[in-house]
């Protein structure tokens, strides 16, 4: 594919015109008409573009996604370090079409059990003391085991997680400015979009480290990530990270709004359900070499991947090159940041024989990432339970075949 169409495709994918726009563009050029000027929104030099040789893009998961959802997954296998470029941040929207919010008109209202309700413009928020913090986001449905060809890709199985440097105002600063009344125990956050996406969060977490972010990786938060304002709740399932944030109501109980109950409630094998499972468990995955790739021959390879945990910092990552019989400690990229992706690296020499590569994360509280069998035993279920469960954080084994092909060896 030529460089021109490549960069145009990238623009379509990141600008939200998406598949429909692509198909239309293709039809138009097939008919040989002069294409309408599809100039990217900014000049390619004014806003730099990747090399035409590079084809690092997000991908939609094939199956198992509601038709109304817009889902694109981060190409973990193609990325290095710990920061996900904003244009490659995963998205999983339950909205049809994203809101087109004018930052001049957008307002954040804080009210409810406070001494002084307050409404902020974006400019006012930017005058307040700011912080920049590197936090991962992860969808609660990430890492669900998949059957078929999709299951062979680290991007399609584990790509519902990304990590950015978020800049904004700590929610605690705004809440203190309003003066939280005693008796308040939860906040209810609302997004300015057609579904009026609403989430309840305990006041303790809201006051501890929750961020009202206006910037992502140094530039304004991308439209699909909540432009102009997003709530970032570190370490917690990303469904709490309300996009297009417009209102925070301080209350004394959770609201059980549509998107935080019902379809997003969890069902347990004993017939009980769970409303809330905020924190994500310790997880790690080898991103290179990973499913669908092929090793060109025996010899030296660096094994690399990402680890993260909803409980704070990753303490250690162990790598096994013999299917979990023995583990050795991997090197962690420094500094290791709390609630951020942690890059690990491990030197490996492949002798050309069949083997299985896998990684295991231990977090700052000593919680260890389980194998799928251990996770199933914990819950008293068979492993196929996890095809439908959320918050699955089992160890991901990749099988290396003698011909160098890498395959998902979870089942």
């Amino acid at each position: 594919m030529g460089s021109h169409s490549h960069s145009r495709r990238r623009w379509f994918l990141t600008s939200g015109i998406g598949v429909a726009g692509l198909v239309m563009g293709a039809v138009r050029s097939l008919r040989g008409q002069t294409a309408a000027p599809t100039a990217p929104p900014r000049d390619t030099l004014a806003y730099g573009q990747p090399s035409p040789f590079d084809n690092t893009i997000r991908k939609a998961p094939g199956q198992g996604t509601a038709i109304t959802d817009t889902a694109l997954m981060t190409p973990l296998q193609d990325l290095d370090g710990i920061i996900t470029p904003s244009g490659l941040h995963f998205l999983m929207d339950h909205v049809k079409g994203i809101p087109d919010l004018d930052p001049k008109k957008h307002r954040l209202l804080l009210h409810g059990m406070v001494d002084r309700p307050l409404e902020f413009t974006l400019d006012e928020l930017k005058r307040l003391p700011s912080v920049s913090r590197v936090y991962f986001l992860e969808c609660n449905a990430n890492s669900r085991p998949l059957h078929g060809p999709n299951g062979e890709s680290v991007q399609l199985v584990h790509g519902r997680t990304s990590c950015s440097e978020w800049t904004g105002v700590l929610l605690s600063v705004l809440l203190k400015e309003c003066g939280v009344k005693s008796g308040a125990s939860w906040i209810v956050a609302e997004g300015d979009e057609s579904n009026k996406y609403t989430m309840s969060i305990p006041l303790g977490k809201a006051m501890e480290d929750t961020l009202v972010a206006y910037a992502q990786n140094g530039e304004p938060v991308r439209p699909h990530q909540g432009y102009p304002l997003r709530l970032v709740v570190p370490g917690w399932e990303a469904i709490r990270a309300v996009k297009w944030l417009t209102r925070i109501n301080v209350v004394d109980r959770p609201y059980m709004a549509w998107h935080e109950s019902g379809n997003n409630a969890d069902t347990r094998p004993d017939g009980k359900g769970l409303w809330y499972r905020f924190e994500l468990g310790p997880k790690s995955v080898i991103t290179r070499p990973s499913g669908g790739q092929r090793l060109p021959g025996h010899g030296f390879y660096e094994i690399t991947g990402l680890a993260w945990t909803g409980r704070g910092a990753v303490r250690r990552v162990d790598v096994s090159t013999d299917g979990g019989r023995t583990y050795k400690e991997a090197e962690l990229q420094q500094p290791v940041l709390r609630y951020a992706h942690t890059r690990f690296r491990y030197a490996w020499k492949w002798n050309g024989e069949e083997t299985v590569l896998q990684s295991r994360c231990t977090d700052e509280r000593g919680e260890v990432q389980p194998t799928i069998l251990e996770a199933a035993k914990n819950l008293g279920v068979t492993p196929d339970y996890f095809y439908e469960a959320d918050h699955f954080n089992g160890i991901q084994p990749w099988k290396v075949n003698p011909d160098g092909r890498i395959q998902n060896a979870l089942f």
Binding site: E177, A257, N263, D266, W275, E279, L379, H391
Partner: protein, 207 residues
């Protein structure tokens, strides 16, 4: 705030031991009283940055349309499933199917809010107010917020009737709606979790 308090009390100590203090005891008392007052004032949270605008109660009310589980915020109005069936045909059937069982484009409303593999039967929605709130604020998807309260009560009744939660003649209003017991309300653990940053995750929260 703690830092501020420490600073105040340190100043108090210094003043007490200063030579002025020894010469003029009443003045010392005054200063000490002032210092205590200052630290009390620091406890009552006052705005630090004086930014943002205080909105009027009417402005807040216009935006505060979400409904909590007790339904305190519900507006006056009423409706039954029978009435709701008519509105449903006009405003909802195109997307959710003639019998609310889904269309080629959208999922149905039976079982309501239960896209999980049905390990727990019936709707997983905890409160009837949740249904009212979502229909009121988000539906129909093409014109959210356009329904009257009567229409929302009637449509909620219709959806709950189709899910075998109520009968087609039950009248829903601000009093009766919050009293409905959704089938799985008590099947959830815990209803309102305590969140404590230091706590170990209880069994069942893992994975």
């Amino acid at each position: 705030m703690d830092a501020f308090r420490t600073r105040c009390s340190r100043r108090r100590v210094r003043l007490r031991t200063a030579s002025v203090a020894r010469r003029d005891p009443p003045y010392v008392l005054l200063v000490a009283a002032f210092a205590i007052l200052a630290s009390v004032a620091a406890h009552a949270q006052g705005p630090t940055y004086q930014l943002g605008r205080v909105p009027s109660q009417e402005e807040i009310k216009a935006r505060d349309t979400a409904i909590s589980p007790e339904g305190k915020e519900l507006p006056p109005g009423r409706g039954t499933a029978k009435e709701g069936a008519t509105v449903y045909t006009q405003k909802c059937a195109a997307c959710h199917g003639p019998n609310a069982t889904g269309s080629a484009l959208h999922r149905g409303l039976v079982p309501l809010g239960n896209a999980k593999p049905v390990k727990i039967p019936w709707s997983l929605v905890p409160y009837a107010t949740t249904v009212w709130d979502f229909i009121n604020r988000a539906m129909p998807q093409t014109r959210p917020g356009s329904l009257t309260p009567d229409e929302v009560y009637a449509l909620t009744a219709y959806v709950l009737y189709r899910n075998d939660v109520i009968t087609d003649t039950d009248v829903l209003d601000a009093t009766s709606l919050p009293k409905i017991r959704m089938p799985n309300r008590d099947n959830f653990l815990p209803a309102q979790p305590e969140w404590n940053p230091k706590a170990k995750r209880p069994f069942g929260y893992y994975p």
